[in-house]
Amino acid sequence: MKHIGWSMDEIDLHVDMGNFYAVISCILSSLLLFNGCNAREEGKLQFPALSELTADSLIVPPVLLSVTRLFIAKDMLVTYEQKKDTMFSFWSLPKCNYLFSAGCRGEGPDEFLMLDRTFIATSNGFKTFEIASNRVKEITVDSTGYFKVDVIKQLEVDQRGLNRFLFLLNNTYCFVSDNEDFEYGLFDQNGNIQHFSDYPIDLLQKNKDEINRFVYNKLTIANPVGDRFAAFYAYAKLCRIYNNNGKLLNETLLESSPNSVSENRYAFYQYYPCMDADYIYILTTENKRKILEVWNWDGVPIAHYLLDKDIVNITVSSNKIYAVDNKNERVIYTYSLADIINKDES
């Protein structure tokens, strides 16, 4: 007689085996889930094929000496030259005709102590952060040469040197922390400081005496609204996107070089990025040639372009990149980004 069904022992065995498989499945699922939550997936996202961009050169008067930053204010291109006595030069757009220079170093009413290199366009001109005094300054400027400086906030904070200062939504500010456990400090409207974001500590080798903020050095930039900011790590092709409350929204690792230690680390990102409402633009170097990377505010790599000039400073206005290099003091380069916009829309 053919045995149909299971004996009690067999049922017990099946139940035990069922439990065994269930437990194993649970462990494996948990491990996978844990791994999925924590692993930094290198190379998951990549740029599309490399394209090339060719610059137009605008010949300008010999005013530029050593440009620290380029930015846009009131429909003018502004060059900030930290070394010069008169630090800001203003150029009309789009032709880059020289207008005037203003803004001296000093402690007078319209003067500046050392500035962080953050300049944000406002309706009247731009605002910046005086890193030597923890003061937020707003500059009213127009193309006639009118230039007025107002201190709009003195930050009462123990930490001096609020580097990589960002202007975020609702008058909150973010800066790179000197805390070894957290990457950033967030200065809220009430004057409270909240530290946030863990260092990506497994990403790079570190000597015992090295300070985290130098090892995991980064360049940061906030979007025009101030509800997001991006961090591009110097020594790994890592982009992190945060919201204005300090919540990590996305992390994209394209490439890293974990074996390089200390001074031998290769700097993937070492030039300040610029941005508009849709994209972040950042320079990187490959085989000694400059590449312009375009990321969106979700931390997705959109496009990258091999550039024909060795530029080191960029800003963006009306789908055009304005750039300077360290060699030609009489040239401002422009790159048209119309292709990027068209590509993304299609």
Binding site: V67, Q82, A132, E210, F214
Partner: protein
């Protein structure tokens, strides 16, 4: 009995006088907001003054180095753009 009362009164008076003096000395240490603002303004000069975290080992960065941090070096207790800093202390 009278002697004891006198002693207690003496101790109480002494304590009152001492307490009042301490109170007065604390009161005189309060700085007006204007003076405080002046002190802060003086302390907020470029680089100098105050109690800063600083680095004993460091390397200054070129002016155009975007990765530099504005930090204090212990030997001078002055702030510079630094390429790196190690061995933290205060000045």
């Amino acid at each position: 009995m009278k002697k004891n009362i006198l002693k207690v009164i003496l101790v109480a008076v002494f304590a009152l006088v001492a307490g009042y003096n301490v109170y007065c000395s604390q009161k005189s240490a309060v700085i007006s907001p204007l003076a405080l603002a002046n002190i802060e303004a003086l302390a907020s000069g470029e680089g100098g003054g105050g109690n800063h975290t600083c680095y004993d080992t460091w390397r200054k960065a070129p002016d155009d180095n975007s990765l530099a941090y504005w930090d204090w070096i212990c030997q001078e207790c002055e702030a510079y753009w630094l390429e790196y800093g190690r061995n933290r202390s205060s000045c």
